[in-house]
Amino acid sequence: MVTGAQNHQGEILIKDVTKIYDPEGVHVVAMKDCSFDIAAGEFAVIVGPSGCGKTTLLNAIAGFDTITSGEIYLDGELISSRDRQIKPDVERMVVFQNGALFPWKTVMENVIYGPVVQKRMKKREAVDAAREMLHQVGLNGIEDKYPEELSSGVQRRVEILRALINKPKVVMLDEPFRGLDAVAKTVMHEFLMDIFCESPRTMFFITHDLDEAIFLGSKVIIMTTRPAQVKKIVHVDLPWPREHHVLGSKIYLDLKREVLEAVHEEAKKAFEAGEREMA
């Protein structure tokens, strides 16, 4: 769709990544020898106990934070290691947990910010492109509103469009729909599903919501409790585009049981670890 020709790029390779916060002081090991890969155009969903280091990994891929050891590659290029950290760029777009639309910019100004600041498009062109994107997802008419005038569901969609207009190789979303009610979430899932099916690109989606994980993901990566490692990878072989009635199908329920068991085990460990820390 709006995102144009797609090029099947965006393969992510995560190799033995370790992240230790404050190595000389408190020494929190957030991730230890974590390895997995995401194929180009794959919708990867990461689930795991709170505070297990999912966001740490996202920050490392995005270039916001460094890692202690290991390597992260994007399309074969080393983007993060102990000695090398490629700065954030438009190939790795992030949609943040608490939303990061610029409150002082209108919807239109937010969406065109990327192409204009990179000088990739003239303002006129960017406005046209943004208008078309908004129109395609049924969000026309809000161009001149400020983010705080919109519901959080609409804000999230605008933020996703602001990322997509840059045609990134990877879109990373950190619990983007947390705090939305069930109905709004359904709308968001369909929105994301449409966008992904129109033009598949690599997705790195963090969530706590297992239904969301299986519904959206082509694979669900379950992380262990801290220090984070891969506990299990569940491939979701449901046909695309998915619609909400798959949530009742047998294959879906089997997948959910599989994911749930793995998550439950880790949640229990995390809980016990918490108890130990308290004691």
Partner: protein, 266 residues
Amino acid sequence: MEMIQELRLKREFKKVFNIRVIRGFLSIVMFVVLWQLVVFIKVPYLENLPYPKDVAAGAADAAGSRTYWFGWGISLVRIFVGFIMAQLIGIPLGLAMGISRTFKDFTFPVFEMLRPIPPIAWIPLAILFWPTRELSIYFLVFIGAFFIIVINVIQGVSNISVSLKWAASSLGARPKHIFWRILVPGSLPSIITGMTVGMGVTWNVLIAAEMIAGQGGLGRMTWEAYTNNNIPFIVVGMVSIGVAGYLCSTLVRWLGEKAMPWKKRF
């Protein structure tokens, strides 16, 4: 049609003359009546108070005199010179302290040492230090607004969520862009708060400075009314200072609304 028009008129009428406006008006009337009464029955210790009508006559006199309006002009110039200098120096300084840890480490301790000193306590030093009385008053007004704006800007910068900065850098913004398009607008609400509070303080400082050291200005005028034992004119001076301060605060608020259209619409 006519009926609708009539209803609309009624609604407009109700909007303007609603019960709260009427109560507000009554409170002022009651205050003046009480004042009249206090003077009339010669309440102990308040027997020197002028009648409301004497003050009104004083105000009418003042409004017709050039010296009175000259006083307004002098005070307003002093306020704006000092206030604007404080913003011109304080905002960049606050931004620098908010952005650079190193710069803050070098400057903040001294800043925090000087900040608790009430601006009025600077008066003697200011008079000695600056070659003219006028310059020392500008300086005092400056002090009144300076520390407040700096502390607010620092606060404003540190309140900007890190995800906004990260989002901007992912979107391709370079440090220069992040400064001008994220840090500056992001700290604008705090800048406006600092300006509003600072404007209030500058009037306090100005009046004290004028009474002690000034030539001309509303504060000096009020003080001279005291030395001439012209009580109605003292009250006129006080009210004028109040009105002037209110107008200046309104101006700052208006500027704030203009500068932050995203804050206004809801």
